[in-house]
C-alpha cells in the first residue's frame, strides 16, 4: 500500500524528517507515537501533498505509483485520506454540501456519474447516525463553531463516507470525550478490512485499546527509533519516550 524509504524533509531550511522508513501493507493498522515536535504531522502533510515542504531525499510508493508526483487532489481521489489534527473551518459552506462535493469529486475522478441526491442523503444519514452526529449539525457551516471534539468526529464522518484505501488519523483522539472516543473507534473498526490500511497518530495508548494496531512505531527527531507490536505502546506508557528512545 505505502512504502516510504529514506525520507528527508525540510521546511524553510529546517530539517524535520531525517531518514524515515515505513512500510504499510494492505489490511494493516499502524500506530505512530512520538513526542511533540517529532515530525508526525509533518509526515502526514508530506504524504497528503501539502506544499512548502521540501523533499530532500527518499521515495514514497503508493500502490505502485510515485506518490510525490501526484497532486493533492489526485492523492485524495486515489484513496488517501488525512483526518486533520486541526480541521479547517469553511464559512458559508454547509457541511452536507461539502460532503457531497467531496464524494462527487472522487466519483468524477474515477469516471463515475454524480451520486444522486437521494442516495447521498441516505448514505450521509446512516453514517452520521453511526457516529452520533445530528442532522442539525450537517446543516451548519463546515466546522464553524464546532467544538474541538465535534470537529474530530466530522473528520471521521468524512472518512467513512469517502471510504479511503489509506487513512491517516492525526491525533483524532485528542479532544474527544470518553464516549466519543469509543464511537469514533467503532467507526474506524467498522471501516477496517483486508483492503485498506490505517496510520494512526496518537499520544495515548488508550486509543489503541479500541483500535488494535498491528504495528506500533515510535518517532523521535524525524526518525523511527523503534517499532514493535501493540505491547510497545504499553511499554511506552510505562517508561516514557526518553527511556524508550535510549534503549532503541
Amino acid at each position: 500500500m505505502l512504502e516510504i524509504k529514506n525520507l528527508h524533509v525540510s521546511i524553510e531550511e529546517k530539517k524535520i524528517i531525517k531518514g524515515l522508513d515505513l512500510s504499510i501493507n494492505k489490511g494493516e493498522v499502524h500506530a505512530l507515537m512520538g513526542p511533540n515536535g517529532s515530525g508526525k504531522s509533518t509526515l502526514s502533510y508530506v504524504l497528503s501533498g501539502k506544499d512548502k515542504y521540501e523533499i530532500n531525499d527518499g521515495t514514497i510508493d503508493y500502490n505502485g505509483k510515485n506518490l510525490l508526483e501526484l497532486d493533492v487532489d489526485e492523492r485524495a481521489n486515489e484513496g488517501l485520506f488525512l483526518a486533520f489534527q486541526y480541521p479547517m473551518e469553511i464559512p458559508g459552506v454547509q457541511t452536507s454540501f461539502f460532503l457531497k462535493t467531496a464524494i462527487n469529486s472522487k466519483r468524477k475522478y474515477l469516471g463515475q456519474s454524480e451520486m444522486d441526491a437521494l442516495e447521498f442523503a441516505k448514505l450521509m444519514k446512516s453514517k452520521a447516525e453511526e457516529l452520533n452526529i445530528s442532522t442539525e449539525m450537517l446543516k451548519r457551516d463546515l466546522n464553524v463553531n464546532y467544538s474541538g471534539g465535534e470537529k474530530k468526529k466530522q473528520e471521521i464522518l468524512q472518512m467513512s463516507m469517502l471510504s479511503p484505501k489509506m487513512a491517516i488519523l492525526d491525533e483524532t483522539d485528542s479532544g474527544l470525550d470518553i464516549d466519543a472516543l469509543r464511537i469514533v473507534s467503532e467507526g474506524v473498526n467498522k471501516l477496517r478490512n483486508s483492503d485498506n490500511s490505517f496510520l494512526v497518530i496518537t499520544h495515548y495508548q488508550r486509543l489503541l485499546n479500541y483500535i488494535k494496531p498491528d504495528f506500533v512505531h515510535i518517532i523521535a527527531d524525524g526518525k523511527i527509533v523503534k517499532s514493535g507490536d501493540y505491547s510497545l505502546a504499553l511499554e511506552l506508557e510505562e517508561k516514557g519516550y526518553e527511556e524508550i528512545s535510549q534503549t532503541a
Partner: protein, 485 residues
C-alpha cells in the same frame, strides 16, 4: 432560469477559461453614422416614432450633458472616451417595424437567444419567469404579456411605454435620477435606446419573476439601457437582469440608467447578474459598464432591495442606491463583485436617509484575483429629519494572489444624533490551509477556490431568487478560473 442553462453549458466546457458568450450574430443592421449630436438624437427618436415631448426631453438632456464635467474616476483607470467615435443606435433591420409575432423575428436573432439559453418562443418559454430580451438598441420580445396584463401589470419595453403609457413615463422618468445628476445620466437621457418598463398596480403581488436579458451584438455600439420600475401602493415585484456581449478587441460602452419607485408599503427586489465580456487576460477589449441605478422609497414602509453579482466587464462603475424618503422605509444592498486578470470595479451604494425610522443594510463582498482592482465605495447619509435612522454596513474583501488590490471607501455623514450607524470591514487573503483541506478531500484547486469564495459570498447569494442563485454560484467559480496555481 434561462441564464442557468447557459451557465451549465459553460460549466460543462470547463477547462478553457474563455468567455463562452463571445459569439456574435450576423444580422443586417440599421445604423446611423458614428458620433454624438442633435441629428443622431432626432434620428433615434424618429426611429422609435416617439412623441414630441420625448424628443424635447432628450434634446434638453443633451444640452445638459454638454455642460457637465465628467465624473471623477477615483480608483479607476479609464482611458479617455471619444464620444464621437461610437455608434449610438443599431437595430437589426428586421426589427425596424416591430414584429407583431415571434414568427416575424429574424430566426438568427431567435437563435442567438436560444444559444444564450433564453428561448423566446411560447412553447419553450421559461416557466415562472417573464423575459424581455434587448438586442443592441431594441427590445426583441417580451414573454408572458397576456398573463401579466390580466393582473394589470405592465411589463414592456420602455420604447413601447413611451407611446402606450405616456402619463406614467412622464411622471416618473427622470424623477429618481435627474438628467443633470452627472454626465452619464445626462448622456443616457439623451440617447437611451431601450430597456424595460414595469408598472405594478396597487395591491398586486407580481406572481412571476420579471426579467430582462441584455445582449450587445453590434460592433462599436454603445448600449444605453433605460429601465423604469414603479411599484404602486401595497404591491410587490421581483425583477432580475442578465447581460452578455460578444468578445471584441475594442471596448464597448454600456451606460445604463435604472430608476425604481416604491410607493406606500410597496417592495421592489432588483437582482443583477452582470457578466458582460471582461476583456482578455492582457486587458484588451471588454465592456465599460457605467451604470446609474437608483431607487426611491417614496411611500411609508416601502422597501427596495438591490442584489448584484458583478463578474464581467472590463470596468464596472456602479452604485445602486436608495433614497429613503418614506417613514419606516428600508433600503438594502447586497453585492458580490469579482475582478480577475485586468478587470477594474468601483462599486458600492448610497443610502440617503430622509424619513423617520428609516433603515438600511449594506453587505458587500469584493473578490480580487490576477492583477485586478476592486473598490467598495459607499455613502450613508442621514439627514436631520431622519430621526431614529439605522444603518448597518459590512464590507469584506478577499484577495487571491499577490498582484491584486482591494479598497474600501465608506463615507458616513450623519446630521442626526438619534441615528445609529455600524460599519464593519475586513480584508483577507484566501486561506491556503482551507484550500489544502478542500483539495485533500478531492476537490481540484479551481473547485476549491470556487467553493471557498462561494462560502465567502453566501450572505449575498442567498438573496438572489432561487433560480438565479445556482447560476450565480457557478458563475462565481467560473470567473475565478485560472486565478490559482
Amino acid at each position: 432560469m434561462a441564464a442557468t442553462e447557459q451557465t451549465i453549458k459553460q460549466v460543462n466546457t470547463l477547462g478553457s477559461s474563455d468567455y463562452k458568450y463571445g459569439f456574435s450574430t450576423e444580422v443586417d443592421e440599421i445604423r446611423p453614422p458614428k458620433g454624438l449630436n442633435e441629428e443622431i438624437i432626432k434620428f433615434i427618436s424618429a426611429q422609435k416614432d416617439e412623441p414630441e415631448w420625448m424628443l424635447e426631453w432628450r434634446l434638453n438632456a443633451f444640452k445638459v450633458f454638454n455642460k457637465l464635467p465628467k465624473p471623477q474616476w477615483a480608483k479607476l483607470n479609464i482611458p479617455e472616451i471619444d464620444y464621437q467615435d461610437c455608434y449610438y443606435y443599431s437595430i437589426p433591420k428586421s426589427l425596424k417595424d416591430k414584429p407583431k409575432s415571434l414568427d416575424e423575428i429574424d430566426p438568427e436573432i431567435l437563435k442567438t437567444y436560444e444559444k444564450l439559453g433564453i428561448p423566446l418562443k411560447e412553447q419553450k418559454m421559461l416557466s415562472g419567469i417573464a423575459v424581455d430580451a434587448v438586442f443592441d438598441s431594441v427590445s426583441v420580445a417580451t414573454t408572458y404579456k397576456k398573463q401579466l396584463s390580466d393582473l394589470g401589470i405592465v411589463f414592456c419595453s420602455i420604447s413601447e411605454a413611451v407611446k402606450t403609457y405616456p402619463e406614467l413615463v412622464k411622471k416618473y422618468l427622470g424623477s429618481v435620477i435627474p438628467v443633470s445628476d452627472h454626465s452619464f445620466a445626462a448622456l443616457n437621457s439623451a440617447v437611451f435606446t431601450d430597456g424595460s418598463f414595469i408598472y405594478i398596480p396597487e395591491g398586486v403581488r407580481c406572481p412571476v419573476e420579471l426579467s430582462t436579458y441584455f445582449r450587445i451584438n453590434a460592433m462599436n455600439t454603445g448600449q444605453f439601457e433605460r429601465t423604469l420600475i414603479i411599484a404602486d401602493k401595497d404591491s410587490y415585484v421581483s425583477y432580475l437582469e442578465g447581460c452578455t456581449a460578444p468578445m471584441r478587441d475594442e471596448n464597448q460602452l454600456h451606460a445604463a440608467n435604472v430608476e425604481l419607485v416604491a410607493l406606500d408599503n410597496a417592495e421592489i427586489k432588483y437582482s443583477t447578474v452582470q457578466n458582460w465580456y471582461p476583456g482578455d487576460k492582457e486587458g484588451k477589449g471588454g465592456i465599460y459598464n457605467f451604470v446609474t441605478k437608483r431607487g426611491a422609497c417614496r411611500g411609508k414602509n416601502s422597501k427596495i432591495s438591490w442584489t448584484q453579482v458583478e463578474t464581467g466587464s472590463a470596468i464596472t462603475w456602479k452604485y445602486p442606491s436608495c433614497i429613503l424618503q418614506g417613514d419606516n422605509s428600508k433600503g438594502e444592498f447586497y453585492s458580490v463583485a469579482i475582478t480577475n486578470n485586468m478587470q477594474q470595479a468601483d462599486t458600492g451604494t448610497k443610502m440617503i436617509h430622509i424619513g423617520k425610522n428609516t433603515s438600511s443594510k449594506i453587505i458587500s463582498k469584493g473578490i480580487s484575483a490576477g492583477k485586478a482592482n476592486n473598490t467598495y465605495r459607499g455613502l450613508v447619509n442621514i439627514l436631520s429629519k431622519a430621526k431614529n435612522a439605522r444603518n448597518f454596513t459590512q464590507c469584506d474583501s478577499l484577495l487571491i494572489g499577490n498582484q491584486c488590490g482591494a479598497h474600501t471607501v465608506p463615507y458616513i455623514e450623519s446630521s442626526n444624533s438619534d441615528s445609529m450607524v455600524e460599519h464593519e470591514a475586513t480584508t483577507s487573503k484566501i486561506n491556503e490551509d482551507q484550500l489544502f483541506y478542500c483539495q485533500q478531500r478531492g476537490l481540484n484547486s479551481e473547485d476549491a477556490v470556487g467553493l471557498i469564495v462561494n462560502g465567502f459570498c453566501k450572505e449575498v447569494l442567498q438573496h438572489l431568487p432561487m433560480e438565479f442563485a445556482v447560476e450565480a454560484q457557478k458563475l462565481v467559480a467560473i470567473s475565478l478560473e485560472g486565478s490559482v496555481g
